[in-house]
């Protein structure tokens, strides 16, 4: 991972291979955000020639380090107008890292609107016309690519949503079974890839070997302890493998924080029908799988395979956020309908959170009734067909609300909120409001920070604790996003000091470093500073670090809560 592949699209597509230079030592989100901050004019149009798409495996990707298969994609976002980092699982990070690239930067624009396939091999890069796959959705695209390039490659593709440059278009990464089920979903990164003229990226690591650590024995020992820590923890070793992320549905619903019918209530009567418990039972009884890894080297296996009543593959196991967005948020309690929409989202290439939130807004506007699964599927079909209504829906929840005169668009910086209502759970609202990414539940995910005093210890009993906690969580998350590690490692790291030590030892042994908690904090702060500076130059102010005002006015049952963190408190999140 000591080189960058820079692809310049234009009348004659060309590329160069460069040393990492000023980006040396940066992986994942650190790499993508630094590139966008340094090289993209903040006032450019997201689909213009000046924008760039940066792709980077994490620092540990391509090695034997457990759960190191996250890949980051960054650009100026068509959805938010600010900086964007979206990351995904699947095989792409591991393969790209083994080929030796620390990042790919796509720049320029599509020549005559034509699309190309970028093929990256050990000692060879080619950019070939993608006429044979243009106009296809993700499943057909990957099937054709596999027929041409083989089953040992990893594939990053866009569907027709990306080709049409929807602001809610994603980039799909193929999973272990070569299905396009793992998406860099948020912010419209697929549209930017299309604007650069790239339909697909083929990553072929034939002839490459696993990345070698600087200190093999120390690395092996640390990695073993890290894996043991993950496996023995109740979240990463039991709850997630057994039920997937959808294990959250019952509990969040019971706590009254489950956004229902476009955030009009905090509880959904049909939650038990779409819970992780019910989903796992349904999958296994039909011959599907409730436990499955999204990339090789994962030891949590929080994914699964959803099959229909006849045992035919429908989609990967829908995640909690997807089950919520297409389920409770739209009043739908039918797992089969939800899985079908998950498949459609993956195939067209759209972010499931934004898509479900958009359908919720459309239901609020009267385009379908809450609870009408057939109506929701019909709206989604319009997105896939590219009808005028479909193109509007593909532009996201904020655009749809504006078009239909609806105030209740649950968005921050133009990006839809995920599956936790910020009124009863105020701390998540602080992160939604202030993250440079727009409303994002993963922005403050790395819960280890406070316990380990990364970023400064905060007394959780202080009234303002949630502001300081959000700050520290965002710092630590930004740092972990640069490693390529899945954020689910945060749980064993939170509860088991020996697992945290093993995590640090894995990185230090691999790179011959002596990283400390202060170094992690500094990296996280740097990433957030680049992102906020970019947004500021793009026109963002403190006024953008706010939830929609109706969240401070309209009470949410059953707690009858409103969001009451003050503007002054929100403005203190990034005071460091």
């Amino acid at each position: 991972m000591d080189k960058i592949l820079r692809v310049k699209m234009g009348a004659k597509p060309e590329y160069s291979v460069e040393p990492m230079g000023e980006y040396a030592g940066l992986g994942g989100r650190a790499f993508t955000s630094k590139v966008i901050f340094s090289e993209v004019p903040p006032l450019c149009h997201p689909l213009g020639i000046e924008n760039k798409l940066a792709i980077a495996p994490g620092l540990m990707s391509g090695s034997a380090a457990a759960i190191s298969g996250r890949i980051s994609v960054g650009c100026k976002s068509p959805l938010t107008g600010g900086i964007k980092e979206a990351n995904a699982g699947g095989q792409a990070a591991q393969v790209l890292a083994r080929i030796g690239f620390g990042g790919i930067i796509l720049e320029g624009e599509s020549p005559d609107g034509k699309l190309y396939t970028l093929v990256v091999k050990k000692d060879e890069v080619s950019i070939v016309p993608a006429d044979d796959i243009t106009g296809l959705n993700n499943y057909d695209t990957v099937e054709k690519l596999v027929a041409t390039y083989g089953e040992k490659c990893a594939y990053m593709t866009i569907g027709t949503a990306g080709e049409r440059k929807y602001a809610n278009s994603s980039i799909a990464c193929s999973d272990v079974e070569l299905r396009p089920t793992r998406h860099a979903g948020r912010g419209g990164v697929g549209a930017v890839m299309a604007a650069k003229g790239i339909k697909a990226i083929v990553l072929d690591d034939a002839g490459c070997s696993m990345r070698k650590p600087a200190h093999p024995e120390a690395f092996k020992a640390a990695n073993k302890e890290f894996v043991e820590g993950i496996r023995k923890h109740p979240v990463s070793g039991q709850g997630l493998p057994a039920y997937g992320t959808n294990v959250l549905t019952n509990v969040i619903n019971e706590a009254g924080g489950y956004p229902t019918n476009n955030f009009n209530s905090g509880q959904f009567a049909g939650a038990a029908k779409i819970s992780g418990e019910t989903q796992a039972e349904t999958e296994t009884s039909r011959g599907g799988r409730a436990t499955h890894g999204c990339h090789r080297g994962c030891v949590i296996n929080c994914s699964g395979t959803f099959v229909d009543k006849d045992g035919n593959y429908v989609s990967k196991q829908p995640e909690y956020e997807t089950v919520w967005s297409h389920g409770g948020n739209c009043g739908i309690d039918d797992l089969d309908a939800i899985a079908r929409m998950d498949r459609m989202d993956d195939d067209f290439g759209v972010d499931t959170i934004e898509m479900g939130a958009t359908i919720g807004v459309a239901m609020e506007a009267g385009l379908a009734k809450f609870g009408d699964a057939d109506g929701a599927i019909k709206l989604l079909k319009e997105v896939g067909e590219g009808t005028p209504l479909g193109r509007l829906l593909g532009s996201g929840a904020a655009a749809t609300a504006k078009a239909f005169g609806i105030e209740k668009a649950p968005v921050v910086k133009g990006q839809a909120m995920p599956a936790y209502d910020p009124r009863p759970i105020q701390g998540i609202g602080v992160t939604y409001a202030t993250s440079p990414q727009g409303a994002d539940h993963t922005a403050g995910y790395a819960i280890a920070t406070n316990i380990l005093k990364v970023g400064g210890f905060v007394d959780p009993l202080k009234p303002q604790g949630q502001v300081e906690l959000s700050r520290n969580l965002q710092i630590a998350t930004a740092a972990i996003d640069s490693t390529g590690m899945c954020l689910f490692i945060a749980f064993p790291v939170l509860d088991q000091p020996e697992t945290f030590n093993a995590f640090i030892d894995v990185i230090n042994a691999f790179y011959d470093m002596k990283m400390t908690a202060d170094d992690v904090t500094a990296l996280g702060k740097n990433i957030l500073t680049w992102e906020r500076e970019f947004n500021k130059a793009a026109g963002f102010t403190a006024a953008h670090d706010r939830l929609p005002m109706y969240f401070t006015r309209e009470k949410l049952a059953p707690h009858n809560a409103t969001f009451d963190v003050t503007d002054k408190e929100l403005d203190e999140v990034f005071n460091w």
């Binding site: 019952n250 509990v251 706590a255 418990e277 009884s285 105020q426 701390g427 992160t431 809560a561």
Partner: protein
């Protein structure tokens, strides 16, 4: 209401009942912790290891050893949850400041089930302790029978 005990039922229906809530008899002045130990045949170490998320009347329970239960309460028992919010919801979570408003609400009196609470088991607790709850015995609404 209909009584369900050991040997009466098993299978998916049992899971659905326990997720949606079954009525279990309370003892006078019983705390959350004492109730769990009695009904699910658990000791202190097992409760700490297996039941990290406790929700009473839609609010988080941070002090199960002193929180007293009453007739008409709804109690949820769950393993540790993933995600930032999942971490917040854990009993006595170090980041509980982020869910300050999520305190147990007023119990809802249930005239059909005096002296009982509605108990819901989720995820690993449901998987690992359904037999214990069957052994203890519980009631379901006739509508669900």
């Amino acid at each position: 209401m209909r009584f369900i005990g050991e040997g009466d039922w098993d299978g998916p229906q049992l899971s659905a009942w326990m997720q949606s809530g079954v009525h279990v008899a309370l003892q006078e002045g019983e705390t959350v912790y004492a109730f769990i130990c009695r009904v699910l045949s658990m000791d202190r170490a097992a409760v700490a290891a297996e039941i990290q998320t406790l929700i009473l009347n839609n609010g988080c329970v941070d002090n199960p050893e002193s929180q007293v239960l009453g007739s008409g309460d709804t109690l949820v028992l769950s393993g540790a949850m993933p995600g930032l919010v999942g971490a917040m919801l854990r009993s006595d979570s170090p980041i509980k400041a982020m869910r300050q408003g999520l305190t147990p609400g007023d119990r809802r009196r249930d005239p059909d089930a005096p002296g009982m609470l509605r108990l819901k088991l989720f995820n690993t607790v449901l998987r690992d302790h359904r037999a214990d709850l069957l052994r203890c015995g519980f009631y379901i609404d006739e509508d669900n029978a």
